[in-house]
Symmetry: C2
DNA sequence: CTGAAAGCGCTTACAG
DNA sequence: CTGAAAGCGCTTACAG
């Protein structure tokens, strides 16, 4: 063995032992064409025997790739981040990439410098941005100037004046329509809606879906039954108190995320209402708590891990110059019908067509 | 400017413009002693002007540091991972390090190879392990053989036969004692306990704390009031049904994590019991759901972010050869007294000394 | 206090 | 199909 004991084997060790040049070893490892099958196998055998692993820093310094994908996030629920990482790290591992994460504060005045620092030190091959960072102009600008490829996860409207960035998202409008349709199919007509934070793109999309479905069934959207929340539990509680004090109560509440739906549930129970007998409640997100409370919430599951997986996919493909698939992808979600919703008393579930 | 337009400035550009050698620039950037103040300032000025950022891959290849810290995790609640990353990425950023995360499956037969692959490609300066990976012998072995420094977060008993590894944790025994003492101070005597998964270290520690506190107050630990759970919501529900069907019901239940406590809460409410009037419930972890249900759960908050922060700290200090502080640290937790616990009817809260 | 040389372990042109 | 040379951008010894 030419390999010095104690230190990890290098490409030189492999080349010597296989009786080829380091360039050939490099070719085999990078799946470059034009290597004789016998040579290829010999090299691979030595690689396995020596347990040789190319060092990322050397590949990165010499070549045009770093094999690093960055993930920038701020705050979105822990479950969202966990899902993103689950999908992203698995895909990265399969492809020989690694995920570098950074938790940034969306309002930090020097956020652009933080991003620029990270990018120029790491030179990642691509960056994944989650809300609300994917809608932060300073972040986007820093990334654009550095020439780092990006994929946005569930962004709001894209900034005008720049070419559309690659993105992955789900169809919030359609999902909200489905939830509303479910409630209508259960016989509900007085359906209240609690909106999310005004500065988040999902809020208006989900509200739009609610309105679409109501109108499609010729049901009125009573302004008195629409409450402005901000995606927090607290505004769900407040919304419930306000909505349930109407002369004629709603029979169902569609809160546009689970945290608010949980607030409605807690408030309803404190008021002595039985859920779903007296009030049906639906949420959105399928948060961990949604299935832990009683009754478990009817909600929508976002394909978070799958979105992250595809984001990594797009970044890697783009780098290889393969334009594989669309750069703006909409992934399927899942409507989870659980026990917080039920047919309106006296109205059979099948009464209305959906 | 000697710097070619379009490409990022290198150490050579800085050296030329500052009129010094690259070695001197390197000294300034690495805070090495023995540089004249005037020279130092001149270099720093040029660095700022050129917005020069040393490339990690070059530093890593040439030197002994990679400025990368690895974080390996599997499953622990999303909230736990989020907390760990929050603390770790902030500390990393302050120190010019970056966090590479990998989500592994604890039962993967080739988990040691996965770890070895990651380590030999990245050469991280240190690795942070969370439960249950921090107790996985194959992971520990792979890391030891590669010579990668590690810090374990909240591990169970350390493997015998090897030098004790650095770790950060909280005092589960003491925290469980505090929860139990709280219940006792509220007048409860028939207190049920739901144990966690037998293969997790925290389970026995928390039970030990419960037993300690009961004994300290001369209260009997009734075997009929101890239920074996596994940290899931479902076993909380099962435990509740079993415990609440006793001839003489417990007046309080201490579930050793929040998921199980939520199961107890849901079961109790379904049985028509009012919490905390009819039954006090305490959990452990301060999960997101704990404060979202009604009534919010009395529980214990782990200093997760702070533990991660210190783990990074220890790894960086160890690399610099500074033996700063102990390598086995126990961080303070916080008892959160919320509405799921109250004084036993007829017994004033102050009746018992704690 | 400062610098010239060598080298880390790969990939990139370029030859043949 | 294969290889010898140069070079990526830093740090490490070693000198003075």
């Amino acid at each position: 063995m030419s390999q010095k004991p104690g230190s990890a084997p290098t490409i030189v060790d492999v080349a010597e032992q296989a009786g080829v040049s380091i360039k050939t070893v490099s070719r085999v490892l990078n799946h470059e064409p034009g290597v004789q099958e016998a040579t290829r196998e010999k090299v691979l055998a030595v690689v396995a025997e020596l347990k040789y692993r190319p060092k990322l820093s050397a590949r990165s310094l010499a070549g045009a790739r770093s094999f690093l994908i960055g993930l920038l996030y701020y705050d979105p629920s822990a479950a969202f981040v966990a899902g993103v990482q689950q999908g992203a790290t698995v895909r990265c591992r399969e492809a020989g990439y690694h995920l570098v994460v950074e938790s940034l504060h969306n309002d930090a005045p020097d956020i652009d410098v933080q991003v620029e620092r990270m990018v120029s030190a790491l030179r990642p091959d691509g960056m994944i941005l989650t809300p609300p960072l994917c809608d932060n102009p300073k972040v986007l600008k820093a990334l654009r100037e550095s020439g780092t490829p990006c994929v946005l996860m569930s962004p709001g409207r894209q900034p005008k004046g720049h070419p559309a960035l690659p993105l992955v998202r789900m169809d919030d409008v359609h999902a909200a329509e489905e939830v509303t349709n479910l409630l209508i199919s259960l016989g509900h007509e007085r359906i209240a809606f609690i909106k999310g934070a005004t500065d988040q793109a999902a809020s208006s999309l989900r509200y739009q879906g609610f309105v679409n479905a109501m109108k499609a069934h010729k049901l009125a959207v009573d302004p008195e039954l629409v409450h402005q929340g901000d995606f927090t539990y607290q505004t769900g509680v407040e919304g419930a108190h306000q909505l349930l004090s109407r002369r004629v109560r709603p029979t169902a509440v569609f809160a546009s995320n689970d945290d608010m739906a949980l607030g409605v549930l807690a408030a309803a129970q404190r008021l002595g209402l039985s859920v779903p007998a007296d009030l049906s409640i639906a949420g959105f997100d399928d948060s961990a708590a949604a299935s832990l409370v009683w009754p478990p919430l009817t909600t929508v599951r976002q394909p978070v891990a799958q979105m992250a997986r595809e984001a990594v996919e797009m970044l890697i493909a783009a780098q290889r110059g393969e334009a594989e698939g669309p750069t703006q992808r909409v992934l399927p979600h899942e409507l989870l019908v659980r026990n917080s919703t039920s047919a309106l008393a006296g109205k059979p579930a099948s009464k209305r067509k959906v």
